[in-house]
Symmetry: D2
Subunit: 218 residues, 4 copies
């Protein structure tokens, strides 16, 4: 269950959702160079995220799981990548800039870990690795949007609005529901330990992604 | 290249596209029991075919290959399965009948071989295993539709019309183009031999699928 | 647990371990052509079985599971394939004959199903698909060796002796122990249902392998 | 070909084999804490490296490729891990210390990238990702052993001696031969570009591994 995994995370969860990068987005003080580096890396991240949803289609044992994965895939390839490219253009980054960017180590670590879990584990392991990303962004969006003054006159206001928006919040709720449904089929403390470990590691890798972005590292 | 692989097949290609099952579809003499068995097995086949397209998304190295695989996946899950279920209903088969059906050995052989090629080989190996199915049905459709009298008063007329139709023919042409594009990146006689072997084996497994259907075997 | 899965199989288990092929091995009446066809297909089977153990190494989460899979792999590549080639030579089949043999549909169905389970499922799914092969042969060996007169003056006496022998019996007991250990981590009725379904299907595919061998089919 | 890929790397290759970590090993000035951190991470690395060789068994199309991969797997599980555990004990690290260690981001990045290449690409892609590790260590060993005074009175002398030793040098030469053999089957400039990109990225991730070790990072 999502709620248990988040609790098992201990300090790793707030280290991710309350990271300096996130706080500086919230108060608008994040250096533009960091945000641009983040946008470029996030483009590459989305491509591998789409591949991961392809794997989830393959792993599905029931038609409804296949449709759930296909919807996730379509959301990325039909919508998010287009939105991302357009958004990047507003920050002066062409699609060529995005494609030319080398992949940062922290980006490789999270995306390849996700793909490897998608293949070595079963569908539940995959969703345990995926959920911190999808749900953490929703939590960050909600939290930043609530903070007084975070939206107006903030260069990152539209980024916050996107993740705080109802459309994205619903994606995150559906992700929690999917993880919880799969976990309900996986009783036993040994499986809980493995899944929780995967969830915590994925959360740590999200925080490492913010580090990389903040410091404009490869 | 598709044209080379088809030629390398020798008698295996006509053994597939001119199989007794196909000829009996063409002249309307195929026993209904065989057709119903085929429809039930084809439903299970489509589910694994969709999983294979999920794998192709994962294997893609370029965005355009990802979109091509996603289109194939969407065609199956959004369109073909729905059409299939509706079509089966016309033959007295409910979706419950379809889901209850055990998978025939010949069905397992082809679908799992395809999935295994999709994982053990690269994207070209996958398309070499996939193409005989997609393109062979188009060839069968065209051929049967041309044969005088095959369409009127034939209980299988709409099945023929579907595969002879422009929509399906275009899918098949796109499949040939995709295979040829990938093969152009794979020079060298050893790779040609491997890919051709995969193509021939997939063709043989399509013929085995007709055998299974004709004889109502599991 | 193995004992439950075997019971869930119903008539599928005896249809495998008491198949005509097995009975004709036992009383020595099996046509030589069938046995030779079986030997050639079994060589190809062993190669894919080795690949499956390679996958099990990849899927392992604990060092002991990795070592267990590596031992299985080494048993096939260092021992069984050599024994098999030598044994085939005694039946007039050279290694070239074995390598030239096309893979039968029933062989593809079982080996590719096993590999696909090894990738799409987790390690427990893999062992549920693997166990009917390893343990069924041990049961067949024991049973045939016990039947009076089955060993003397039977052209297949050494085949029976190999699978009835203590070395192989121990491999089978270890396989049951491994499956049971993994199943103990997978509580929940939905997982039991999936694993049992995999076990039953693998058992059915073993019987289909005997059919293929008996009828010298591809 | 290895020689081409190394040249394509440009400055990335020396950034790996002449990294500060390597130089400080050579002159014995590396802080013990960095070496111990390296040893702990390298233990985890070896476990995933063994999994990668398991995948290579699965990907093999020819028996000789299977045996090559099995030899690599056996070398790690039967020999290297044992040597590593014993060596770590000499530095005051118990096997429990090794198993308790969380995996560093740079470790995840390289090992999971390798496993993902092993699954998404073919056997050549896998070996392109694997080779910088195996061959780079051999080059480092040779180079440090030659440097005057690097062996005597250096706390890392036995580490240097191991990688400079003939046994390891032979492993590295065999790795080059395997990569070159597979590349000879993969003509065409597009494949060369992909394989070279994989080789360069793996080399960069090796350098990132040294960074992580030097700075005792997770």
């Amino acid at each position: 269950m999502f709620a248990n995994f988040k609790q098992d995370c201990g300090g790793t969860w707030p280290a991710y959702v309350e990271h300096s990068f996130v706080r500086q987005i919230g108060d608008g003080t994040l250096p533009e160079a960091s945000f641009r580096h983040y946008l470029k890396q996030d483009y590459l991240f989305l491509l591998h995220f789409a591949r991961a949803y392809g794997l989830a289609v393959f792993k599905a044992q029931a038609l409804e799981d296949m449709l759930q994965a296909k919807a996730g895939l379509a959301a990325i390839l039909d919508l998010e990548i287009g939105v991302h490219v357009k958004y990047c253009a507003g920050w002066g980054l062409s699609q060529e800039d995005l494609q030319r960017e080398p992949e940062a180590t922290a980006n490789l670590a999270y995306t390849r870990f996700l793909l490897e879990r998608g293949l070595a584990g079963n569908l539940t392991d995959f969703h345990a690795a995926l959920t911190p990303c999808v749900v953490g962004y929703a939590e960050i969006g909600r939290h930043l949007a609530k903070a007084a003054g975070s939206v107006e006159a903030n260069p990152y206001a539209d980024w916050i609005a996107m993740y705080a928006g109802e459309e994205y919040q619903q994606v995150a709720r559906a992700q929690i529901a999917q993880l919880d449904k799969l976990c309900a089929q996986e009783q036993g403390s040994e499986r809980h330990r493995q899944l929780s470990e995967t969830f915590t590691l994925a959360t740590r890798l999200e925080a490492a992604f913010w580090d990389m972005a903040l410091q404009c590292q490869l």
